[in-house]
């Protein structure tokens, strides 16, 4: 019985370890990317150890179930962290938290001017090695994010093709 519960909860236990290790490593190393990877890998190791101890006849199936659950849960955790790092909406919420008198629209537009937004994203993409400068212009250095562009575009066409058609029609009209 305990074995069954252990196997069932192993992805959650691995996630808790992932989160704790991320917290410890960020405060030691001050590097967000590295701390996320450390948390993920250590959580993965813990899941593997638990599987080796608890699983018997259906080791491959248990591995599959556990790792897919762990990866999906880790993705949710990473997405939660990523909202703080990249989301404009979350930034606006946190800025408004400091301002009990609220903020005017033009002040918000000033804080988050198009140039400011582009600059932040360019710096982030350059630091991550996704883009680089060549003869004073920006070129792609890595195709990893491009894969995400293609996947989301494919899914967008699949799920809301009419929206895509409307956008194409509007683009033609312009």
């Amino acid at each position: 019985m305990l074995t069954e519960w252990g196997l069932t909860l192993s992805p959650l236990i691995a996630l808790v370890v992932n989160v704790c290790m991320q917290m410890i490593s960020i405060h030691l190393s001050h590097r967000t990317g590295l701390s996320i990877i450390i948390g993920l890998l250590i959580g993965w190791c813990v899941a593997l150890v638990l599987l080796c101890i608890l699983s018997n006849s259906y080791f491959i199936m248990d591995c599959g179930t556990c790792f897919v659950s762990y990866l999906a849960l880790s993705f949710c955790f990473w997405a939660f962290l990523n909202l703080n790092i990249t989301s404009l909406r979350i930034r606006i919420l946190r800025e408004l938290l400091k301002e009990s008198q609220g903020l005017k629209t033009d002040v918000l537009l000033q804080y988050y001017s198009p140039n400011e937004l582009i600059k932040k994203r360019i710096l982030r993409l350059e630091a991550l090695g996704q883009i680089r400068r060549k003869n004073g212009k920006w070129v792609l250095h890595s195709r990893k994010l491009l894969v995400l562009v293609w996947v989301t575009s494919l899914l967008r066409n699949l799920i809301t093709p009419f929206k895509v058609l409307e956008a194409a029609r509007d683009a033609d009209r312009l």
Binding site: L96, L97, L117
Partner: protein, 158 residues
Amino acid sequence: MILFTAVALLFFAFMTHIVWWRVKRPAHTTSALLLLFIGFFIIAISALSLSFIEVMRLGLLYISCALSYIILYSAIEQQSPTLAMIHYIDLHGEKGCDDESLAHSLCTKSEIMKRLTLMEQSDWLLQKNMRWYLTKKGRRLAYLFDYAAKLFGLKIGG
């Protein structure tokens, strides 16, 4: 069996999602997706004779994958500025593109207004006398993310 059941459930839920969105896209897409995925899960556990532990295992696997998709859906529904930039730079190939054309083609004043309007519709913000304020819901979210930022050592982004 749990893995196959979860994969099958996710597949059928996703197919239903595609058909539903093509017929009539719901106004509140996140709530609709949550309802859809949870609905399929409830139907599955009612129809299959699973033990409590099997339901827990299936639930953990299925719900975590469903939540991952719902998170990804926000990037599918509306292309993020970062991905739009990557796509735009890629279109220029090895010639590259300069800062001005990148800024001109991508982010405009309307991006911020779009986000403020979406946040107002989601009851995170309200506008009063030309000023924006947090609602109770918005304040709770802001505290959550602020606390998470301190706990996980994250700098303010955006």
